[in-house]
């Protein structure tokens, strides 16, 4: 008898799980759904909670203050990935059947790679803000993938340009020794070839050293750095690897003001655990930190004071990851708004939102209207440039907060574009993808994203 009961229970659990999937397919009018493959546990939880918290806070602001985007409510559901590819894929499979999907934002290069084929078939955009697969910048080959603001190559170019300006000009880079300490993941490895390539151009020496995931032990790497005696160390870290790197640098006697953090080594969570060792540490960023910007003030007023804030610790409002999440929210929402101008103020299909992202042009004036002046500079996405010429700036940690120490700097896009195109064309050839023209980009499928995948 006993085992019979257990079996029935199990059956019930399976059935309810299956039912949960089918219930969700009932369409509701005028909604735009954002599936969020977030991570709030595991070694990268600080990044995940800040980023997804920021995006959700901005969505809440739009829903509460404006009643949605021109009356279209924003909805979302989170699925925990722990930054692991197979969990990300599972969440994708779980949520892909939901109606009215606008875009995916996985915040993981590994998960993004696994999704490229899938979302291209679904015709739904995949946003990898400040990271992602570099050659997906080429919209001719990757119609649905958007490494917005800053792809890894631009980031590299921005960092090298900054070092050049610190040294007093590009020609001073000759003979300088640079170490790149990178995270042992698809994200970390993405820039290996570009440092080698820029080496040819500028004549610096470079050594690239891997730190295995998650990176809480780096004694060996820093001893190697000490032997090599570099002029600069570029920290291409992620999560716990960053404070450990800064602390180990101090232990091995490497000056912290010679360490330049990349765009995923630039948050409060990276420096506060390192304590005093981090004072003077500099990092690149696409968005400033701080809560003084009008859009943040409104989020505090409308969302947090209304008890709907997503961050548990209110002190993290205005931190680097939170602000990046807000910028990501702005970019997603504006893409929907721009697409609505062409297709009408209604629920859009994934392909229509893709068109919106391909026309996501926010000049400094529009950024100011959005209350984000100074938070980020501007973006100019086109059908073939899916990055959008984001500008970068550098910030230095003083022990309490980040201070901006440079102007908005432009990476060397002209130098990078041919490399990106070559890589994208090779991918197109390998996969048998037809290279898009601007006319192709203007054609939009009005089918819901899931309709095409149902054919399989």
């Amino acid at each position: 008898m006993k085992h019979y009961g257990a079996k029935t229970l199990l059956k019930g659990a399976v059935l309810s799980a299956v039912a949960a999937g089918s219930f969700a397919t009932a369409a509701i009018a005028d909604e735009q759904f954002f599936p969020l493959q977030s991570y709030r546990v595991g070694p990268y939880a600080a990044g995940g909670t800040g980023f997804f918290g920021g995006t959700i806070d901005y969505f809440n602001l739009i829903n509460t203050r404006d009643g949605g985007v021109n009356g279209v409510k924003l909805t979302w559901e989170e699925g925990e990935t722990q930054y692991e590819v197979e969990r990300g894929v599972e969440v994708y499979e779980r949520l892909k059947g939901r109606p009215n999907i606008a875009a995916w934002n996985p915040l993981s290069v590994g998960i993004a790679y696994a999704m490229i084929d899938r979302i291209t078939q679904d015709r739904v955009p995949l946003i990898t803000v400040n990271h992602g697969r570099t050659d997906s910048t080429d919209g001719r080959v990757f119609p649905y993938v958007f490494p917005l603001l800053l792809n890894p190559y631009s980031e590299t170019s921005g960092i090298i340009n900054y070092i050049a300006s610190k040294e007093g000009g590009e020609e001073k880079l000759k003979g300088k020794k640079i170490v790149v300490l990178y995270h042992g993941s698809p994200y970390g490895k993405e820039t290996i070839p570009i440092y080698e390539l820029l080496k040819e151009k500028f004549g610096y020496e470079v050594q690239q050293i891997e730190v295995p995931h998650p990176g809480n032990e780096q004694q060996a790497q820093w001893l190697a750095i000490r032997r090599y005696k570099p002029d600069y160390v570029v920290l291409r870290g992620w999560g716990v690897m960053n404070p450990v790197a800064i602390k180990t640098a101090q232990k091995t006697g490497f000056p912290v003001d010679r360490i330049i953090g990349n765009v995923w080594s630039n948050s409060e969570e990276d420096v506060i655990p390192a304590g005093d060792a981090a004072i003077g540490y500099t990092a690149i960023t696409t968005q400033a930190s701080g809560a003084d910007y009008p859009v943040l003030q409104e989020i505090v007023k409308t969302v947090y004071d209304g008890g709907k804030g997503n961050l548990e610790d209110k002190k993290r409002i205005g931190s680097v990851y939170h602000n990046l999440g807000i910028v990501n929210g702005i970019l997603n929402v504006e893409a929907v708004r721009i697409a609505q101008k062409r297709f009408g103020n209604r629920t859009l299909t994934g392909d229509e939102v893709r068109w919106g992202f391909e026309h996501l042009q926010l000049d400094p004036k529009r950024v100011e209207e959005l209350g984000a002046k100074g938070l980020f500079h501007s973006i100019n996405v086109t059908w073939d440039n899916h990055e959008g010429d984001g500008l970068v700036t550098f910030q230095q940690w003083d022990g309490k907060k980040w201070n901006v120490v440079s102007d908005w700097i432009a990476p060397d896009w002209k130098l990078l574009r041919p490399i990106i195109e070559k890589s994208a064309e090779a991918y197109a050839k390998e996969k048998g993808i037809k290279i898009r023209t601007s006319e192709d980009a203007d054609k939009v499928t009005e089918l819901q994203g899931t309709a095409s995948s149902a054919k399989n």
């Binding site: 799980a17 590819v85 197979e86 059947g97």
Partner: protein, 347 residues
């Protein structure tokens, strides 16, 4: 780890007078004909695909650990070898059918398995487990260090090729995985009943006695490594090609090796069906809980809290299962079946 507590496979059928082959056959028929009647894309792509791949890996490890008594922590490495080998055969040998690249990939994994099995000739138990860790780290290092393996992709991530033929779409991929798993599982089930299988068990239970009775111990151990790694390598191909459809070496880390080891411990060492029961518990249960959790409590707690509670629940369940039946789910099934038989009036 001593192997004395591992039970012998039960010679009598679990369910009374019903022939032993009937239940597996019914399961296979159901998997081919029954599941497609109600399965959704989600069931295929997110539950059955990883379930089949990890079940097969567990069948492979069970031959080595359950039957031949050699503890291994290198399963994920052999999966990685299989996945990368299949990718490279497929990429570099033109016109090679996919099935052939999978077989060759299995053979490569098998060869690597034999090399890392060599220490088993001198080491036992925990010491052997530690030496198979070398496989885990060495393979991951090799695949990361030499970008030839990932066709010079800057991120070190490879896109798995499409399966081709009729195996497109979720249903096609499922049939493909299922057929591979069924073929190899039938092979494994037959193997353990042959003289070779008995040699495995003899080596596991008492090496000296086995040697005296004329079992070629060295040869048997290496054969166990070879066959086990072949099956695990093919499982790696399924994981990469039919489930994730992308491969990065990090996905085959030590956690995965432990996961496979736990599957066979919980499912039942030295049983074929234990691999499937264990995989169901380790792979499918967390997903079902996760969906049920999101469905019931999603609006009250954020996904992090839910995920943590699921871990606690799954951990507690595993402890309860192991206390209730230390020999694994397969033995639990046997016991329930025996009790039912005793109760039924026909007996």
């Amino acid at each position: 780890m001593t192997t004395a507590s591992i039970p012998l496979p039960r010679p009598v059928s679990a369910i009374g007078r019903v022939p032993t082959w009937l239940l597996p056959l019914a399961v296979i028929v159901f998997a081919y004909a029954g599941i497609p009647l109600f399965a959704s894309d989600y069931l295929y792509d997110a539950i059955l695909a990883p379930f089949l791949a990890l079940s097969l890996a567990a069948v492979g490890l069970n031959i080595l650990t359950g039957y031949a008594g050699q503890v291994s922590l290198g399963s994920a490495a052999f999966m990685a070898v299989g996945a990368y080998a299949a990718y490279n055969f497929n990429l570099r040998v033109e016109g090679l059918p996919l099935l052939a690249s999978i077989v060759f990939a299995g053979l490569i994994a098998s060869a690597v398995g034999v090399v890392f099995g060599l220490p088993s000739l001198r080491l036992k138990g925990f010491y052997l487990a530690v030496s198979t860790l070398a496989a885990q780290f060495f393979v991951q290092w090799t695949l990361t260090k030499f970008s030839w393996f990932s066709n010079y992709n800057p991120s070190g991530v490879i896109d798995a090729p499409a399966l081709g033929y009729v195996f497109e779409g979720p249903h096609g991929r499922y049939l493909f995985s299922l057929s591979v798993v069924v073929a190899l599982t039938v092979f494994a089930a037959r193997l353990v009943k042959t003289q070779t299988g008995r040699n495995f068990i003899a080596v596991r239970d008492n090496e000296t006695a086995a040697k005296i009775s004329g079992v070629p111990v060295l040869h048997t151990k290496l054969l166990a490594f070879a066959i086990s790694s072949f099956i695990i390598g093919v499982a790696g191909v399924l994981w990469a090609f039919a489930y994730l459809r992308t491969v990065e070496p990090h996905g085959f880390n030590l956690d995965r090796s432990f996961q496979i080891l736990f599957i066979i411990i919980i499912g039942g060492l030295a049983t074929i069906r234990g691999a499937f029961l264990g995989a169901a518990l380790i792979v499918v249960l967390p997903l079902v809980l996760s969906r049920a959790g999101t469905f019931l409590f999603g609006s009250y707690f954020d996904s992090g809290v839910l995920d943590m509670s699921q871990r606690i629940l799954v951990g507690a369940l595993i402890i309860v299962f192991l206390i209730a039946e230390p020999d694994g789910l397969a033995a639990l099934g046997n016991r329930i079946a025996r009790r039912l038989r005793l109760r039924s009036p026909t007996n």
